[in-house]
Symmetry: C2
Subunit: 340 residues, 2 copies
């Protein structure tokens, strides 16, 4: 897969969390050196959650994944993603400890990110969407208030579209605001809608910044639904929730996958309650944004590295192809520019 | 303190453990860029001991200190020495976690050291004296066998000169052997004689390598005695124990301090059983090595960073001055060369 010619000056900001941003950044970095990852800062599960609980630091996990995506230092990339497997360090990703130690040492999470960025020799920038130490909050009729990203991600919403906010009220990181303002393209990454995209989109000021920015604003729609959370959501449902959470209709384009994944694979996913996201072309043609369907699936067979999770092998198979997805974004932008 | 002109090509190897090697390397790096730290690998206390116990890795602590001494990256130096203060990570120096994660990831401690050396932008090299996962062993009449560097360091020897060995038998790291062979100067750093220098000197092959090397071999004698271990040891006692442990008479020179530390300071040290090391000039003049006495004390007041240890402030005050001590070594070498 050879990228189309790069426009190294194209300023692209990617808003999201961990895996979805990782995929997009990995692809987009082949097209530009002016990438900025704006990262959700409400994660409170796993290694990240333990570090927040014990040391009161900001969540390092998603920032780490974005740094790794943009890194040009193979050994250190692997080191940052290395997880200890035994003893009292078990489960901690090394990169999380790196960011945590720097934050504790300097008292400044953002400075830690800068040092990590230098060590990892990244192209582009990684900026937390907020530097406030926030907790994600959700309210639904059936659950009342639910506190914390991990629990929210586990909640069965039964089709309800939840009210969501951050506590305490988050301040938009000025560097994130600038990145959105100055971008040529802002991409909303695919990801867990309420657990991972919401905490970035609901930071006060993000919706306003998106609406005010002259960038092309594109959402890369999820490939499958999440059981209990987005069951039955079509492409337009995802898009309208993205805009509802940001409090603004800001999307210029939505890119969605049109290729059906392999039948056996779909069966495995269906067994776990995950279904391919449907699209209704008639509806999408009348949307306020341009809907762009394409074959976005990765053809590569990913390795199952988690013995404890038999779904992992299958789950990694329905993934966005980083290069193809990135190219679709660049093409959308080029076409728009040419039409102007 | 301005260094005398450097001889950037002078090959110097420093054998030792943590703090003593740190001091010497910090000074010597002003005089040459061809420094090699050869590090004791039997440490089993504190953060290092816990990582060895839980993860089966080689001891990172002393290697970390030597890397930091040779580093030219201020922020990363501080990060490597940063210790977590709370939670399940409490007590771990970040640099120890760095070396441990790399060893677990690559299966090769030496490769981890290379990566750390690159990240820390060190001048010179740091090589473990052995890559065998060893335990320090000691035998005395009063204690029988004592296992492990930490316990050995705590044992009251009552004046006995202990039998010492490593289990399993250690292989001399070929890179350490080459460094000793090719050095212009080999320095034995000051340090805990039985707990820190012995485990380096008793590695099979070290004594032979030292005896065979054409380098100037210098021991920088400790400043104070250690209660229960080296009580009453004079400069010549330390030197003869160094040679006994290495199994060879190899020393060309011993550098010792002649300035009495401040009286109040000495009192504090005496309260903890630590006395200034005495020297008998008549005896030293007849020694098989050249004895070189000088004012080696650091004049700087060091900061007490340990609230839990009221001795820390005092203890840090009787220290070798890195530059003065390094210069004394360089001068010894220059004089010898001129006499040739």
């Amino acid at each position: 897969m050879v990228p189309t010619p790069a426009n190294a000056d194209l300023k692209i900001a990617v808003i999201g969390g961990g895996t979805g941003s990782f995929t997009l950044l990995s692809g987009l970095k082949e097209y530009t050196s002016s990438l900025t990852a704006l990262v959700n800062m409400a994660d409170d599960g796993g290694s990240t959650g333990l570090l927040r609980d014990e040391l009161g630091v900001l969540p390092p996990g998603d920032v780490r994944q974005c740094l790794v995506a943009l890194s040009d230092a193979p050994k250190l990339r692997d080191l940052f993603n290395y997880r200890f497997e035994e003893g009292s360090l078990k489960g901690h990703a090394f990169g999380n400890l790196f960011l945590t130690a720097l934050e504790k040492m300097t008292g400044d999470f953002a400075e830690g990110v800068e040092v990590a960025a230098e060590v990892l020799n990244i192209s582009g920038r990684v900026d937390p969407i907020t530097l406030t130490n926030v907790t994600l909050m959700m309210k639904t009729k059936s659950h009342g208030e639910v506190k914390g990203e991990f629990l929210i991600g586990e909640s069965d919403l039964g089709g309800e579209r939840p009210e969501m906010w951050l506590e305490p009220e988050a301040g938009l990181n000025p560097k994130a605001q600038t990145a959105i303002k100055e971008a040529d393209i802002v991409v909303i990454a695919p990801g867990n809608l309420y657990g991972s995209l919401a905490p970035a989109l609901i930071v006060p000021g993000v919706g306003e910044a998106l609406a005010a920015s002259k960038a092309l604003k594109v959402y890369i729609c999820n490939l499958v639904t999440k059981p209990g959370q987005t069951d039955g959501y079509s492409v337009s449902d995802f898009a309208s929730e993205i805009e509802r959470l940001a409090g603004r209709d800001f999307l210029d384009a939505v890119v969605f996958n049109t290729r059906q994944p392999d039948k056996n694979l779909l069966k495995k996913y269906a067994g776990a309650g995950e279904l391919a996201v449907a699209y209704d072309m008639a509806k999408l043609e009348n949307a306020s944004y341009q809907a762009f369907g394409a074959d976005l699936l990765a053809g590569t067979i990913w390795e199952n590295t988690s013995k404890s999770d038999p779904m992992a092998a299958a789950r990694t198979l329905i993934r966005h192809d980083p290069i193809v997805t990135a190219r679709s974004i660049i093409e959308l932008y080029s076409n728009r520019t040419n039409e102007d």
